[in-house]
């Protein structure tokens, strides 16, 4: 049980690293898919089967495909050599990241210590339960997302259609 978590955690981190370190977008994309997959497993372990499924279907299935598609479309190859811009990012970036990590980790540790993730009472995360919640208390957000998607479609059309 735990062992699975740690295995996939390590996998996620490693894949995440390669997302960041790969110079070719395609490889980053593939590593990202790995991350998403391993996260899906972890979701499963954390009692979120429905979300895990959505993760696999929507994320890995739809979004990443879109990404790969665009990568192919624009045949984005290796990054060219960086001409020397973004000074601040280059000299301040790494320390900032480390600082962020450190600060944050310290706080988390201070606050939670070793309290187990799974609380005493179980969590009913069956699709039915989620559905009930979604269409009762969260019906408004659910409806509003339609507008969001509408916007997305509209935007995609406006920006990507060839001739003005």
């Amino acid at each position: 049980m735990e062992i699975l978590f740690y295995i996939f955690a390590v996998l996620a981190v490693v894949a995440g690293l390669s997302v960041v370190l790969q110079r070719a977008p395609v490889y980053s994309a593939l590593s990202l898919i790995v991350v998403l997959g391993s996260l899906a497993v972890i979701f499963l372990l954390l009692g979120a089967p429905f979300i895990a499924m959505v993760q696999v279907i929507v994320y890995a299935g739809a979004i990443m495909v879109l990404f790969v598609l665009v990568i192919m479309l624009l045949n984005a190859g290796h990054e060219g050599p960086s001409h020397h811009r973004a000074k601040f990012a280059r000299w301040a970036g790494p320390p900032l990241l480390l600082a962020f990590l450190a600060e944050f980790a310290i706080m988390i540790w201070k606050h939670f210590g070793l309290t187990p993730t799974a609380g005493s009472d179980p969590l009913d995360a069956s699709p039915a339960a989620i559905g009930r919640l979604l269409f009762r208390s969260y019906v408004l957000p659910f409806e509003v997302t339609s507008i969001l998607i509408l916007v997305a479609v509209l935007g995609a059309v406006v920006l990507a259609k060839r001739q003005l």
Binding site: E2, A12, V13, G16, V19, V20, S28, L32, V35, L39, I42, F43, L46, F50, I51, V54, Q55, V58, Y59, A62, L66, F67, V70, I71, L73, L74, E79, G80, S82, R85, A86, G93, L97, L101, A105, I108, W109, F112, T115, P116, T117, A118, G119, D121, L123, A125, A129, L133, L134, P141, T145, L148, I149, V151, A152, G155, A156, V158, L159, A160
Partner: protein
Amino acid sequence: MIPLSHVLVLSLILFTLGAAGFIIRRNVITVFMCIELMLNAVNLAFIAFARHLPNLDGQIFVFFVIVVAAAEAAVGLAIIVALYRNRNSLAIDDVDSMRM
């Protein structure tokens, strides 16, 4: 039993990796993917808390985040395509004609 802090630290690591990618990568698409990575890290946190509390709202939230991510992806990629059409390049460092 998995300590909550471990899960959160994992999500933190992923989040930071995403941020790192944003800052060091020079290809717009990769940068965008790093953002997706960050969002996933957030999702992980939500799931963990949902399990911890325990309380389903977190999972609902994740659901919406994924939807939003999808929408963002669509628009973002469209923007990137437009960018490529204009500049014929995906190098993020070229996008600095306006400054100071």
